[in-house]
């Protein structure tokens, strides 16, 4: 077969570049890992304390609250919904568990707090799942509703635990086991459990199906409402777990401790590559997303920047991550317009 161009006698332009596909696929699949690795290398070069065991375990402990919450939110996001109420739910749950601790004892306090928090998750789930209301509106409304609820409950007073040394409640936030901080263990343990749930159970499969294509899932006999409902209950559950860690670490709580956490949590989930359109996402990647947030914060502090610098940098990193994702899908860093 001759490649000679008889018609015009010109050499024809080639159509493309071979082997870009392979690169693109790697970028698309492992982009977040690569970014993570670059971060770690960059920071360790800039600060020799950064890569120390002490520092790394500190970061893990610091992200454990946001990370734990992000696990449940990941499930919600995979179903194609949002949960913006987790921040104020964290405030509510922490205030509740701390306040009840001295009144009814740690174990009953934890039980009551879990029941109340899960109940709020059920309301979210009912409205978004069975009521088919828009999740952004429902959970944004819930965000302020819970804020009100918290203030009514506490009367605007901060709460704290009187006997901070003598209670076993301290173990969740301050304890160590086998050289690892208990918050880290809770976070990673739950992460493993959630990962197994999403990848090995029929419920997990339904979560992905409902988010990927609700109509086709309905045709397959998947009950969307039930799956979405469960996702919100799971989200409330992880927030309740985070409240135990937070309450136990601080041994007290302000009415607005969780303010802004919903965005940090969502940032971690998005950094992990979950699509807000639903149908994709994974727990290991969410964990990495959350760790990136933690390491940025930590690295900046080590380098002597004020703590609020992290807000700006976090925003830049998220935009970069999303851009990288879109760019790798379309194969170019800018769209060409002709």
């Amino acid at each position: 077969m001759t490649k000679l161009d008889i018609q015009s006698g010109q050499a024809a332009p080639r159509l493309g570049v071979p082997d870009r596909d392979a690169l693109r696929e790697t970028l698309q699949k492992q982009g977040i890992l690569i970014a993570f690795a670059l971060f770690l290398v960059g920071f360790s070069l800039m600060s020799d304390r950064f890569a120390s065991w002490d520092n790394v375990s500190t970061v893990f402990r610091q992200v454990s609250i946001i990370g734990t919450m992000a696990l449940g939110v990941t499930v919600v996001v995979i179903t194609g919904n949002l949960d913006l109420s987790v921040g104020s739910l964290l405030s509510f749950a922490t205030v509740l568990v701390v306040d009840l601790h001295d009144q009814i004892g740690p174990a009953p306090a934890i039980l009551v707090m879990f029941a109340a928090t899960l109940l709020i998750g059920c309301v979210n789930g009912l409205l978004v799942g069975y009521g088919r209301l828009n999740s952004l509106i429902v959970t944004l409304g819930m965000l302020s509703a819970i804020q009100g609820l918290t203030l009514i409950y506490s009367g605007g007073q901060n709460v704290d635990i009187a006997d901070q040394e003598g209670t076993w409640f301290a173990v969740f936030g301050r304890g160590f086991l086998l050289g690892l901080a208990v918050p880290t263990l809770i976070f990673l343990g739950l992460a493993v459990a959630f990962h197994v749930m999403l990848t090995r159970t029929s419920f997990g499969r339904r979560v992905f199906a409902v988010g990927g294509n609700p109509t086709a899932s309905a045709f397959s006999g998947v009950r969307r409402a039930r799956v979405v409902f469960s996702a919100y209950v799971l989200s409330a559950f992880t927030t309740a777990c985070a409240a135990v860690i937070l309450g136990s670490r601080v041994m007290g709580s302000q009415n607005n401790v969780g303010q802004g956490y919903e965005l940090l949590v969502l940032s971690g989930v998005i950094l992990g590559g979950a699509s807000l359109l639903g149908g994709s996402g994974s727990i290991p990647k969410t964990v990495i997303g959350v760790l990136i947030l933690g390491f940025i914060q930590n690295g900046l502090l080590l380098m002597g920047y004020p703590y609020y610098a992290q807000w700006l940098v976090t925003w830049v990193v998220i935009i970069l991550a999303v851009w990288l994702d879109v760019a790798s899908k379309r194969g170019a860093f800018f769209t060409r317009t002709s």
Partner: protein
């Protein structure tokens, strides 16, 4: 080339005039793990319909997407009117007069028909505001040409699939295109709309437009095309003049063998009634539908698109509420209020629209197949991957699914192979009653007869099967009995032994 010397001057002038309008040379395209196109060359002349044929996954859509700037080839060249051109984006293709009517609908369901037709080139007035008057007028002009029954301001999401396909076609007619590619345009069209489409193609042809026509329907290929190119496994198997060949010749080129046209085995005596429908009604969609399906029997449901066939199936499957009538399974009346109920009662429905209703596009092939039977492949909520794999392996084999691996997201499969995943998903359920709606839409001729055989085999295993189809040959090939529907009513029932094509056509047209 040496033969050129023997042409007369007149013939030479004609040849020059008929020089290719478009030429693709040595196009190679790989996807991760797949060589979709391997050094393919192809050309289209002025005013010619060039049919592109090949099995599912042969690379037809990919070749056309390279032409239309959707995919970038690894290597190869494109010439338009003898000039080498680069086509790096769909926009660029459009600017050069190359238009692709996609196999999978690519419309914005929330927008109006007119907006969809003119998307990207909406007529504007001052301050860049859209001129709705001009937009709707221009859209109506095109729609009139297509003789459709909907309006330019209708919301696309509310249209039937057939009408959405017509919108997709209308988009191609906005500019005076040089080359129009139709990728399986008739897969979801009714006969009436097909006639309109063929008129449109004839008109384009007269204007000198080059047309590429992809279809698995041999009758269309042989009525429309001037030349046929056959692709197989990403390679060109040959280009033939349509008048020098016949269906068998093309089929052999395509799948490497002749089609097995042997008469099917007589069905064994059907068993007891599995599904009985009595006086089923739903609004003005259908009224007073009564029929029964026996175990071991394949019943065809034939009728025009819009006759209520799909709606009946969806009602039995619990996706629509009936306003009258009764459904019995194995003799007992059942109340089916949703697909989970239906599945529990042993009813399965393979829906007609694979993209919207059949598949989770981002999910892999295996997981899509097992989605319809998650309870069967899990124990106490834990997935049994071995069981899932077994289903996939069995049906990927029985349907000769062409997929790089079970891990491939179905989004990356060719249209026909996606359809096979939908079928596998529901055939694998081993239900009591299996309803398949347009089961072979987009499936190549070879696989089609295999699927018909598979449906008959499932019936022989004791399943009651209802096949909904708007293709008469299909209904005739698989059914033991045929229900003819007209305007939401059961017009007639035929035994396969004594049905004629004429009688069927009359029954579904209300004669």
């Amino acid at each position: 080339m040496s033969r050129v010397a023997h042409h007369t001057a007149e013939e030479l002038a004609d040849l020059k005039h008929r020089a290719p309008l478009l030429r693709l040379d040595g196009v190679t395209k790989t996807f991760p793990g797949v060589k979709a196109l391997d050094d393919v060359s192809f050309d289209v002349r002025h005013g010619e319909v060039h049919a592109l044929l090949g099995e599912n996954g042969a690379g037809k859509s990919t070749l056309m997407k390279v032409l239309a700037g959707v995919h970038r080839a690894n290597s190869g060249t494109i010439h338009l009117n003898g000039e080498p051109v680069e086509v790096n984006s769909p926009l660029e293709a459009k600017a050069r007069g190359i238009v692709l009517v996609h196999q999978e609908l690519s419309l914005a369901p929330e927008l109006s028909v007119a907006e969809n037709i003119f998307l990207g080139s909406l007529p504007t007035k001052r301050f860049g505001l859209v001129s709705w008057k001009r937009l709707n007028a221009a859209a109506t002009h095109i729609l009139d040409r297509l003789g459709v029954k909907f309006e330019s301001y209708d919301r696309v999401g509310d249209l039937s699939i057939a009408n959405q396909q017509m919108v997709e076609i209308a988009r191609a007619l906005v500019f005076t295109p040089k080359v129009v590619v139709f990728d399986e345009p008739t897969a979801s069209l009714t006969d009436a709309e097909k006639v309109v489409l063929f008129d449109v193609i004839a008109g384009l042809k007269k204007e000198g437009t080059g047309i590429v026509y992809i279809s698995h329907r041999m009758d269309e290929i042989f009525t429309l095309s001037d030349r046929i190119t056959v692709l197989r496994d990403g390679q060109t198997r040959g280009t033939l003049n349509t008048r020098d060949t016949d269906e068998d010749g093309v089929t052999r080129l395509m799948i490497g063998r002749s089609l097995d046209k042997s008469a099917r085995k007589a069905a064994p005596e059907p068993g007891p009634v599995a599904l009985e429908v009595k006086g089923l009604s739903c609004g003005d969609l259908f009224r007073d539908i009564s029929f029964s399906l026996r175990r071991g029997e394949v019943v065809g449901m034939y009728g025009l698109v819009g006759a209520g066939r799909t709606e009946i199936a969806e009602t039995i499957f619990g996706l629509r509420a009936k306003d009258g009538g009764e459904i019995r399974i194995d003799g007992a009346p059942v109340d089916i209020s949703g697909p989970p109920d239906a599945i529990r009662h042993g009813v399965a429905l393979a829906p007609e629209s694979r993209k919207e209703q059949g598949l989770v596009l981002g999910m892999n092939c295996r997981d899509n197949m097992s989605l319809s039977q998650l309870d069967a492949v899990s124990r106490g909520g834990w997935l049994d991957r071995g069981a899932e794999q077994a289903i996939y392996d069995e049906y990927a084999g029985r349907l000769s699914l062409k997929a790089p691996s079970w891990r491939t997201p179905v989004r990356n499969l060719s249209g026909g192979n996606q359809q096979k995943v939908v079928l596998g998903k529901w055939l694998g359920v081993k239900p009591r009653v299996l309803i398949v709606d347009e089961p072979t839409r987009g499936i190549d001729v070879g696989s089609k007869s295999e699927i018909h055989a598979l449906i008959r085999r499932l019936a022989a295993e004791g399943i009651a099967v209802l096949v909904i189809s708007s293709e008469m040959p299909e209904v005739l090939a698989v059914s033991d009995r045929i229900l003819a529907l007209y305007h939401g009513r059961l017009a007639r029932e035929f035994a396969a032994a004594d049905v004629t094509e004429d009688a069927l056509v009359q029954a579904i047209s209300g004669l």
